[in-house]
Structure formats: C-alpha cells, structure tokens
Symmetry: C2
Subunit: 236 residues, 2 copies
C-alpha cells in the first residue's frame, strides 16, 4: 500500500489522470436545532473505496456526510450534512470520469425545519412533520446530457428482494452499475466491517462472496480499471 500511495503521489497507477467523485456516509436531515433524521451508514465502505482508488492513482473528490468511519487520506475532502448539500457538492465536483454514490442519502427532508426546539405540548402530541423529497443525486448525474461521467455507479442497500429491487433501481436511475447489498439486521453488515454485494450491470447480476469492505473496494476499483482498459482497447 505504501508503494501504491507513493506511485499515486508521483502520478502512477492505472487510474492516473482519472477524476473519481465518491460520496460516502449518512446524511443528517434537521428537524429542529437539536433533532435530526439519520441513517445507519458508517461511511466505512465509502472510505475504503476512496482509499482503493487513490492507491490506483485516481484523483478522488470525497463528498461525505457526518460519518463515523475514519476519513480517507490523499483525497479532496468535502464535508456536508444534508442531502441537498451533498447534491450541490457533487454538482460542483464535476466533471469526473467516474462517480460512485456510496452515501446513504436521505430520500426526504423535513420541510420547514424549526429554528427553535420543538416543545412537548400538554397533550403530548408530536407536531406534524411535513416531508419533502430530496434531490435524487444518482438519477440526476446518471441522466446528465452534458458532462455525464463515463461510469456512474450506485449502491442499493436493501432489506428484502435485494437483486430484484437493485435491478429495478438501476433501470430507474439510469446508472451503469449498482452494488447491491442486504442490510437486514441479521447480516450485521450495516456498521460492520464485512460486506456481501451483488454487482448489477448490463452483464446481469454478479454475486460476490462475503468479504471485508476493503476487499469489496479493491475489487470494485479493479473493475473500474478493467472498464477503462476495455474502452480504450482497439476493437477486434
């Protein structure tokens, strides 16, 4: 890894000259100054991906929500809190050769989040929260007519019918690859160090064995290297 890090710094590696945007971590959507809606993403898979890409020479812009996992080194770091901030940061980071959306982005935010702490009322009722949809970062970037990255990769954290849901998601969003995983409680994947993913692409669904998040990252990074090699290889 040291050799690769040095190679990356002096400009070597199969991804040298490639700019990759990686999103990572959860987003936090404020309800009021002290409360927010969060999700269980630790950011560990995103950090591992950024690290693997840097080791192969890529220039990585790492757009991260408030993650518990350590942040990667040698990246351009952009720290955000909400999905809307993440969408803006991704937009600002383009153009890129590859975009990998590993963050667990909230689908909704609380409309009109309060400036003051919500107090309990005498009857104990919770003030109604109104939700508004967040920007769909994966679909937006996948469907860019101008400046779309060559390779757009999404993640699908599912708790049931993993391949079916992820395949539908890939078609709906218009991305190239989806890494789908099962985050049911029983798997221990959310917040754990292992991951068990299925790569969904034009070629169908490829189930990878359960392995560390670092190994998932290395394998995906290698797939990206291969994809660019195929692209530049003379036909026939």
């Amino acid at each position: 890894e040291i050799r690769e890090a040095i190679a990356a710094m002096i400009g070597g590696g199969p991804l040298a000259g490639r700019h990759v945007v990686v999103t990572s971590g959860p987003t936090h959507e404020p309800i009021d100054p002290v409360r927010y809606i969060a999700n269980r993403s630790s950011g560990a898979q995103g950090t591992a991906l950024a690290q693997a890409l840097v080791e192969l020479g890529a220039e990585v812009t790492f757009v991260t929500g408030p993650a518990a996992a350590p942040l990667p080194d040698h990246v351009r770091l952009v720290q955000v809190e909400t999905a809307r901030e993440m969408a803006d940061a991704v937009q600002a980071a383009l153009p890129a050769d590859v975009a990998i959306f590993a963050a667990a982005v909230a689908d909704w935010h609380v409309e009109g989040a309060r400036n003051q702490k919500i107090k309990k009322t005498p009857d104990g009722a919770m003030p109604a929260l109104e939700f508004a949809e967040n920007p769909d970062i994966l679909a937006t970037v996948s469907k860019l007519s101008d400046g779309r990255p060559s390779l757009v990769i999404g993640f699908a954290a599912e708790t049931e019918k993993v391949v079916e849901h992820a395949t539908a998601k890939r078609a709906r969003k218009g991305c190239d690859w989806i890494l789908a995983n099962d985050v049911s409680d029983a798997t221990g994947i959310m917040g754990g160090s292992d991951n068990a993913v299925t790569l969904i692409s034009d070629a169908g669904a490829e189930a990878w064995p359960r392995m560390s998040k670092k190994d998932v990252a290395r394998r995906l990074a290698q797939k990206i290297v291969d994809a660019f090699a195929d692209e530049t290889r003379p036909k026939g």
Copy 2:
C-alpha cells in the same frame, strides 16, 4: 485524578457508599431498519459527570445511548438505544441515592416502526409517520412514591428563554435540581467541549460561568457532596 481513582477503588471519597445513576448521550428512535431519529447530544457532559462522581467515591450506574464521547471508566455500564430501553434500564438500576438525567432523550418514538426499509413511492411521497410519546424518565423517577432517590437532577437543553423554560420544567417534572443550558447553534455547546449552565433549585437560579464540561461535572459533583453533608449535619 489518579489519587482520587485509587481512593475510589479502595472505597474512600466523600461519596463512598452512594449509588448514583447517570443517563447520558442521545437516544435513537428507529423509523425502519436503516433510518432513525437522533439528536445532537455527544454524551460528553454525561461522561464527565460519571468520571467526577467516581473520583469522589460514588458507585455509578451509567445508562448511555449511542454516544460519540468516550465512555467513562469504573462505572457499571448499561448501553441502550431507544428512550424506552433507557427508561427500563433506569428502573432496573434503582434504588439509588442520586439520579442525574443528562441524556438527551427523544420525546417521541415512531409508532409501528417498519421492519422493512421504506421505499420511495412513484409520486415521491413520504409515508406518514405516526409518533407516540416516550416515557418521561425524569418525571417518573421524580414522582416515585416509593424508592425515590434523595436527589433527582435533570438537564434542560433550551434554545430560547432558558431560565424560564427550565424553571417551568423543574416544577412540572418534580425534580430537585435542573441544570439548564442554551444549545442554540451560536453557542457551539452542543457537541463542543464547553458548557454554560444555570443551576435551578429551591434556592433559585444560579448562573455558572462558561467552563469546560469537566469543570461543570466537578462543580455539580461537589454540590452533591455538599447536599449530603447538609442533610447529615445536625440542625442548629
């Protein structure tokens, strides 16, 4: 501190023989397997309190939500996630001489939290969330007719009219003391290392200067020592 820790271990210190229950950290209220409602408590003030009490010889049961701050040493540790779990853990930890409720407990939980991840609908609408009130741990313990701790101390994290709200909270809950603080964004207290509190008691409101959370903890621990000394001192 080493001297005090050793004194505590061999049973010395002014709080030797006293059992103190301290709650700390945020609670997380699940929405579905991947989403939850959280709050910005780091648990730093609770950890500092537990540490200060241990140093004075107290036996501390530390009931904590998923906190970012390091956990205290030499305590009986009980880790919980939701407000309902915290209420049960506090109940199980009694009897105690003192109860200090420093956790930022969610007032509500999501009724009927989903077992499967909530999916976006084609129209982007968020499924309605129904909220139910959480048990009020501070009020419940303050109003125990049997086995109430001699000293029940609450916290009030406010964003406006701090003393007014906290004084009303003290009366409503029936606790002995309230440590009130202003957690508006501008103060930087939520998640920071300093705190600026006002102690509300029968004697009125006593504003403490802004100091580290460790110093707030030491000062409160000393107040507790003094309260027990007054109690046992012969009248007149």
